[in-house]
């Protein structure tokens, strides 16, 4: 099992660990509501070093990337980041990926539902990644994620005012303690988000500095479980939740991650065929009042005549004070503003909703 370099730092700040796909990840504190509110109202510091990380030279890498990943890397300008995915031959998603065009090489960050060795097999053995200069740098770098409506303040304190000009899905180089640091403006919470990618030798100092800065704005150290809630009620795709259940990018609404004009990537032909045949189901957001108790993955969604779909993700949203869920419903019934029933046709009412169900603070934030 892969252990993360900053494990002791996160444990010392009250975060417990749990295995996920062969990696011991910082999971949660004993107060996940506090973690959640810290991100929505201030800032949270999380360890995203679980990401699988690769580099590939720009000159040799474009063909490899376009033949493996769903997005179009060819048009990715220097300093910009592409959000795309890796799928298997059937088009089922394996990894949710950022590909950054960064100083004559591409940096690839993967959240995958396979372990490190399986992902390496796909990239190196099955697709000859080494021939194109692909390098696995997973264990050489840490990734700290700074997320929240005040995350920009923390980022500014650490890296200077120029970071405020970093557009969403962009990468830029900064200096920290005499070493090169890359920062990607990304995040999947609806609030400001920065991935700070640093060499191991400055990792601890970076963590200590970030911790000091987030405390100045009443932030908190977070585990990764709170990101499952933040992604759900911010309506960001989560490969570890609905992605691992549904797997089909067309059902998940991820067509925007695909270069639809060049579907020669792994699984592209299968997805092309499915797209032409028409998609039968898609995920739909819904809320369930909290007095109905917990909602589980696989719980049925019914109309008056019986089952029409099932829950693929569900958590309590502290922002809405009710359960937010995603269900896989037939295309013709997957609309917002409708009432269905949980588990049985006479079960608790569930309301399909428009996502995201609230406006994150960051959307209307003016940066100083």
């Amino acid at each position: 099992m892969r252990e993360l370099l900053l494990k002791n730092k996160f444990m010392a700040n009250g975060i417990s660990f749990k295995e996920r796909y062969g990696i011991s990840i910082p999971f949660t504190s004993d107060n996940i509501e506090h973690e959640y509110n810290s991100v929505r109202n201030a800032v949270g510091l999380s360890d995203f070093s679980f990401l699988q990380k690769y580099t590939i030279p720009e000159d040799k890498g474009i063909d490899f990337l376009n033949n493996v990943f769903a997005g179009n890397v060819e048009n990715l300008r220097f300093g910009r980041v592409l959000h795309t995915f890796l799928s298997d031959e059937n088009g089922n998603i394996i990894a949710d990926c950022y590909i950054a065009n960064n100083d004559e090489e591409f940096l690839i960050l993967c959240e995958s539902i396979v372990d490190d060795s399986q992902l390496d097999k796909i990239l190196f053995e099955d697709n000859n990644g080494a021939d194109f200069g692909l390098k696995n740098i997973t264990n050489d770098f840490v990734v700290l994620s700074i997320d929240g409506s005040n995350a920009w303040k923390t980022a500014k304190e650490i890296f200077g005012v120029s970071i405020l000009g970093l557009p969403y899905l962009s990468i830029e180089e900064f200096q920290f303690d005499g070493e090169k640091i890359n920062v990607i403006r990304a995040g999947k919470t609806g609030e400001f988000g920065y991935y700070v990618i640093a060499m191991n030798k400055v990792a601890e100092k970076l963590f200590d500095t970030a911790l000091e800065k987030i405390k100045q704005v009443e932030g908190a150290v977070c585990g990764l479980d709170v990101h499952n809630i933040l992604r759900l009620d911010g309506r960001f795709f989560n490969i570890f939740s609905e992605g691992a259940i549904v797997r089909n990018p067309l059902y998940l609404g991820l067509q925007w991650m695909i270069d639809l004009e060049n579907m020669n990537f792994i699984g592209g032909q299968s997805l092309q065929n499915q797209r032409e045949a028409g998609v039968g189901s898609k995920i739909t957001g819904m809320t369930i009042e909290k007095e109905y108790g917990s909602v589980a993955i696989g719980d049925k969604i019914c109309d008056e005549n019986g089952e029409i779909g099932y829950i693929v993700s569900a958590r309590h949203s502290y922002e809405l004070d009710k359960t937010v869920a995603l269900a896989l419903l037939p295309f013709e019934k997957a609309y917002s503003g409708l009432k269905f029933y949980l588990k049985t046709p006479d079960g608790p009412v569930v309301n399909t909703i428009s996502m995201p169900p609230f406006t994150p603070k960051s959307l209307n934030m003016k940066l100083d």
Binding site: R235, F236, G253, G337, L338, S354, M355, L363
Partner: protein, 93 residues
Amino acid sequence: MNVEREEKIKTRREILQKLKEEMIKRLDLPYKPDDIHEDISLLGAGLGLDSLDAIEIVMIVESCFNVKIADGNTSPLRSLNTITDYIIAQKGL
């Protein structure tokens, strides 16, 4: 058949279809209407549209549905579903 539900579906389907067709045409998006999930973020993440695209969307809503979105009111522009909610509320449908 639940008549009330079917009416709501019909109303939303018609608005969403028109919105998608106009956006694909005017913003030159490489999609078919069914490719665009109604909850996908329009600006930044998701479809990745920019502020000029947002102005075009506001104009689509005004020209196709006779509904104005006030300057600075970005809340309806989060997704196609939130725009549709706004149109339904404004027209009292």
